[in-house]
């Protein structure tokens, strides 16, 4: 019964994605391997991520989906033992190339984390942090504009416009997560990576964020890691299934959920493990 409802929803989303047959490849990975010390965390991953679509990474915990997500803006650089090899491209440019500045890369490929992590500063300061360090705005006026635009973009403006100078940590969980999304889009990235953004939220807050993701895809390319298959079905156009460090299959979301090619995918989406 539960499954059936998901299926119909999936079809609806899938149908909308097929109405836009033309797409561009925003990011791509070829033969990506990741080692954490002696552990081989990701094995030869090949994937294309389409522009202005939502791509969902699903799979059981420890399958490598978050690891791969963190390769896409080189967040793994902060972990000493982590070694990434293979080919990862953003707009046909190798992001692990020496000429690429990781600071600039992360401005182009933003990230939203599992647990909302607003800085212990005011809401306003949270939003302008990125634009300020990248020098994207000059003067108070421009910063004010960015704050309003980003908060509107994250659907948070009406809730917080009267208390922009209050601490960001005083907001509710869902608001905090949308604040983090607003903070990410304030830098106007091209790609937004989301690492299980709703796992710590209640259903209503989750619904808010999911709506937001759907709106954001018109301007940004979005990659989302999720534990929740219904969520993947609801928000994404493409879905990639990871299992034990291997990218098992990647396809239109509708296909993955209705007609998986691999039996491991089949097993996972029917709830046999995970």
């Amino acid at each position: 019964m539960e499954m059936a409802r998901t299926m119909t929803e999936t079809k609806a989303v899938g149908a909308s994605s097929t109405e836009a047959p033309k797409f561009k490849i925003k990011m791509s990975g070829r033969g990506v391997n990741v080692h954490y010390g002696a552990k081989h965390a990701l094995k030869t991953v090949d994937i294309d991520i389409r522009e202005n679509q939502v791509t969902a990474f699903i799979g059981p915990s420890g399958c490598g989906k978050s690891t791969f997500l963190r390769c896409l803006n080189r967040m793994n650089d902060t972990i000493d033992a982590c070694k990434v090899s293979g080919d990862l491209k953003l707009d046909k440019q190798d992001i692990y190339d020496k000429s690429i500045d990781v600071v600039q890369l992360r401005a182009r490929v933003g990230m939203v984390f599992q647990k909302a992590n607003p800085f212990p500063k005011s809401i306003y300061e949270n939003i302008v942090y990125g634009p300020k360090i990248h020098g994207l705005a000059t003067g108070k006026q421009e910063l004010d504009e960015i704050v309003e635009k980003s908060l509107r973009g994250a659907g948070l403006w009406n809730e917080v416009k009267d208390r922009l100078l209050d601490s960001g940590t005083g907001l509710s969980g869902g608001q905090q997560q949308r604040l983090c999304i607003a903070r990410a889009i304030a830098v106007s990235p091209e790609v937004i990576l989301m690492d299980e953004p709703c796992s710590a939220l209640d259903p209503i807050a989750t619904a808010h964020v999911e709506e937001l993701i759907d709106e954001l895809k018109s301007k940004y390319t979005i990659v989302i890691v999720t534990h929740n298959m219904q969520q993947a079905a609801r928000v994404s156009q493409r879905t990639a299934f990871f299992h034990l460090g291997v990218l098992v299959e990647e396809d239109d979301t509708a296909n993955i959920f209705t007609n998986p090619r691999d039996e491991r995918t089949q097993g996972y989406i029917t709830g046999r493990y995970g």
Binding site: N73, M75, T78, D80, V103, Q104, L105, R106, A107, G110, M111, V112, F113, K115, N117, P118, F119, P120, K121, Y129, G130, I133, H134, C180, R183, A184, V187
Partner: protein, 459 residues
Amino acid sequence: MDISVVFLAVLVLSVLGMQVGRSRAMAVAGGQARALHSRAGYYGAFVALATALPAFMVLFLWTAVEPTVIQALVRARLPAEIQALQADQLSLVLTTIENLAYRNIAPSQSQPYLTSAATLMREMHATANWLMVGVCMLVALGGFFLSRGRITVAFRARNTVEAVVKALMIVCSSIAILTTVGIVMSMLVESLHFFAEVSPLDFFFGLVWDPRFAGAARADQTGQFGLIPLMWGTLFISFVAMLVAVPIGLLSAVYMSEYAGPKFRKAAKPLLEVLAGIPTVVYGFFALITIGPALRDIGAVFGLDISSTSVLCAGLTMGIMIIPFVSSLSDDIINAVPQSLRDASYGLGATQSETIRQVVLPAALPGIVGACLLAVSRALGETMIVVMAAGIAAKLTANPFDSVTTMTVKIVAQLTGDLEFNSPQTLVAFALGLTLFVITLGLNVMALAIVRKYREKYD
């Protein structure tokens, strides 16, 4: 009979009680250890405790009270005209008598009443000693036999022993409170004596420190006891110390926790902490023979006249001592900032230093402020470095190349050498000590509260 002999005798009896209690318990149980409520050893411990504890208590109280009682008795037998003397002169007389009686130090002017009083005191002391031995042994034996008599099969020896042990532990815990009470009371009492002679207004707001010598003190020449110059010197030197320790300590902590690889950290961190393990008297000597002359030479190059006991010298040395204190506290605090905040900042494309300066340090600020307050309190109370490397003249100067003096220097100066507990020259040290204690206590309470609140925030 010496106190230590009584102590040992009670101890021996107590050990004996251990054996007796155990065998008595086995006897009442008819050799069946299982019949007893507790294991046989607990009955032994019960007898041992019942023997030793009351006797030790009597011993302790006796030693504490005896001198006061004897003094009062002797005083009551002194000639009437002596008894009519003022309190401080009377106490001087009594001290003389005690010296004569116990330490055989003859007074400068021998008086017949002194000798007779001393003889009386010595006799009383001897009698009291025998009495003490008798009472102690009686109490010990009483405890021994009473407790032995209480041993039955059903007697809950373990519960009793554990209750006593627990009570002892509570007493041990209260020593911390007693120490604080002792500190406050002892300094308060002497400070009140001081304030009886010198007005608190003159002390707390006086601008001149010139106590004169204790011996030369006459009614018209008590000297001036202004706290302000000492307080200024203390704050000035501590300020210079913080100017050295906070940037170096904080930057070291940042590097250790954010940049350094595990190998570098493992080598450098303990090395830096060696600075904290070096006794302060060594720092004082270092200031005296290395830093002072070095600063003077450097000053000479620039045509500056730097005193060898300059504020700079004492402050710099103290700063070096405090570096590891600031750095290890800050290190802990920076490590407590959650990684998720750093990730958020990196995810937005901030560089590591931007993340540290704009996210990590502001988040850690309350904790770091707490750590710095603790460091300030440490600097204010530091004694040996300033005694050896700072000046002795109480000056109100803002020139860091000049020398100033501090409260701790003056406490040491007033309390070493000959003490007269009735002259303001000695008593002022207690008022200074009390002031220092109150200030550092305030800083510590504040700092510990801030640090604790900070820890709770990120736990």
